[in-house]
Symmetry: none
Subunit: 193 residues, 4 copies
């Protein structure tokens, strides 16, 4: 049964990012990943229970690290506004500097079946949770309107950032993704106030 650690575990995950990003989830064969990782096809199944498991593990890995590091950066902020700015900045900066990861997150991850989304939802929910915490904090700090519906506001915030990333991924990337931080932050902060 799927070992979740070991050096090869990570090697396969790295190979998967590359191949998924290059060819897309459905076009990538397990043997492609194995080849890229320099292991035998069967070895993949020692570390992952199936192909979908690789994609989900990939996302969970990335997302956990993402949220963890983001929480660290947020701990240095003094108020909700700074935190929101940090969220947008970190999100755009991280994916902007890792196009392969961005492609997997924005495109490939959405190619899997409904039921599997559960594996994706969990780590994503912790990010949603984080954003909602910041909005709540902003309301407590009287920075944002009291009547603001936190959940809806979170959707707007996340949706805005997410769309900006998707557009960048789908484009030929003629601009720096991080450069969009200012206008996006500006728009969202005014919306919340």
């Amino acid at each position: 049964m799927a070992r979740r650690s070991g050096e090869k575990h990570q090697v396969i995950l790295d190979a998967a990012i590359k191949t998924f990003s290059r060819s897309g989830y459905h076009r990538t064969r397990v043997s492609d990943i194995a080849g890229e990782a320099g292991v035998a096809d069967g070895t993949v199944y020692i570390y992952f229970s199936n192909k979908e498991d690789i994609l989900i593990s990939l996302f969970q890995n990335l997302m956990n690290r993402f949220v963890e590091e983001l929480r660290t950066e947020l701990s240095r902020c003094r108020n909700a506004n700074e935190k929101l700015e940090t969220i947008i900045d970190y999100h755009l900066r991280t994916l902007g500097s890792r196009p392969e990861q961005a492609r997997v997150t924005q495109i490939e991850l959405r190619q899997i079946d409904q039921k599997i989304n559960e594996g994706i939802s969990k780590p994503l929910l912790s990010y949603f949770q984080l954003i909602e915490e910041v909005i709540e904090e902003g309301k407590k700090q009287a920075l944002y309107r009291q009547e603001l519906n936190t959940r809806t506001a979170r959707k707007v915030v996340f949706g805005a950032i997410d769309e900006v990333v998707t557009c960048w991924v789908m484009s030929s990337k003629p601009y720096q993704l991080a450069d969009l931080k200012e206008p996006v932050f500006d728009l969202l902060i005014r919306g919340l106030q």
Copy 2:
């Protein structure tokens, strides 16, 4: 069953919405669509060149009608604010009343290969175009800030609405999608002003 010429085209398209929505694009066999449509497998290939073509035609069909009707509604509005409100309202109302179409648009459509996205991009771009026109109009009418980057603003607006729809589709739909119009509009309008 399909008496008039050309009727089968639509029958197959309707069947495709149902089956894609029910089972997802990759899990749907062409024979499932044919069965749902009450035609033979081969008949599908008289009207569509392949499975992907069905999905793309589906989206183009829906999106063209969507943009067309939306433009009609917008023609009744007096200013950019009313238009923005109409866009959000129409978007949420339309998809909120057609969960199957919403599922296809939000989920299944994103499951196809990169190159095929071209077929999707075109009709989507006309919607993006529409939103940008409204934002530009708002700037001209001095309703929105002059320094607003129209393209980025459009991404934020579309991303916000889109995320709201996606969350609803993924949920067990315990609320009316259209009910989110107010808070979303409120947030976005403040962001633009």
Copy 3:
């Protein structure tokens, strides 16, 4: 049931020679033949019972005319040697001047199933019969050896001519097929004497 006459019967047969020659029997669709003939797909089935029937009818048509005309030419000959020369000449001249027919005869006709060969065998047998008659005549006229096995001799004669045609069809046809009459006749006549 397949009507064996009518103007369209011949139109379809002519279209079949072209398409079979161009694309090969298995690569040719019935709709290709219909298209080339300028009739509807279904019309083909008024005149022929199925696709194989077209190929067989084609061959029978060609072969009957071939043997008939050849017999006429032979009637002008005075002895077996002249007749053999005429056979070789006529065979090479006829196929050499109709590359499409040659292609169908040499290549496409051999692409059909065993049991169907019966339809091909019959008209071919009358050609074999003709050759054997000439050899027998040659023996009677003391032109050829008495101990000659007529059947085997016929196989050698036909095989030689047939191979010469096949090589020409498969080649880019940089020479006139009829030019091979002399050396082929020379070889065979010496073999028979």
Copy 4:
């Protein structure tokens, strides 16, 4: 089943001869070959790129062995006449003792598309080459006429033998193919002299 590496390649080839000979190339399904070989359908595609590849590999295999063994036999001959006799004898003996192989060579092999013929031409050409060498040798040894066109003579020789085999394959085989060696050789040798 298939213990030693590479053994399956031959097992599949052997199964292919049987099934092609029994049902014909087009009537044989890949799963029939796999079944006859006692392997899974997919296994066939590990060793061959597609169905056509099986037929071509089959022929190349047989033909290479054929020419190789024939060359060995020819090395024992003292002059062109003996060699020509050996060629005819070996050709008829080999195919006469392996009716399945003969059927594939004479009938099924000619059922494939033009472009694929390239795969067939090469090994066949080496046989043609061999025959031409012998004819040339006969001319040098003053056994055959100097003015003989070697290429045409080769076509006559090969065509004669080939036709004899084809007739035998198509018949119910009431005679020994090898028994035709004498009359065929007799006819051809006189033609060449």
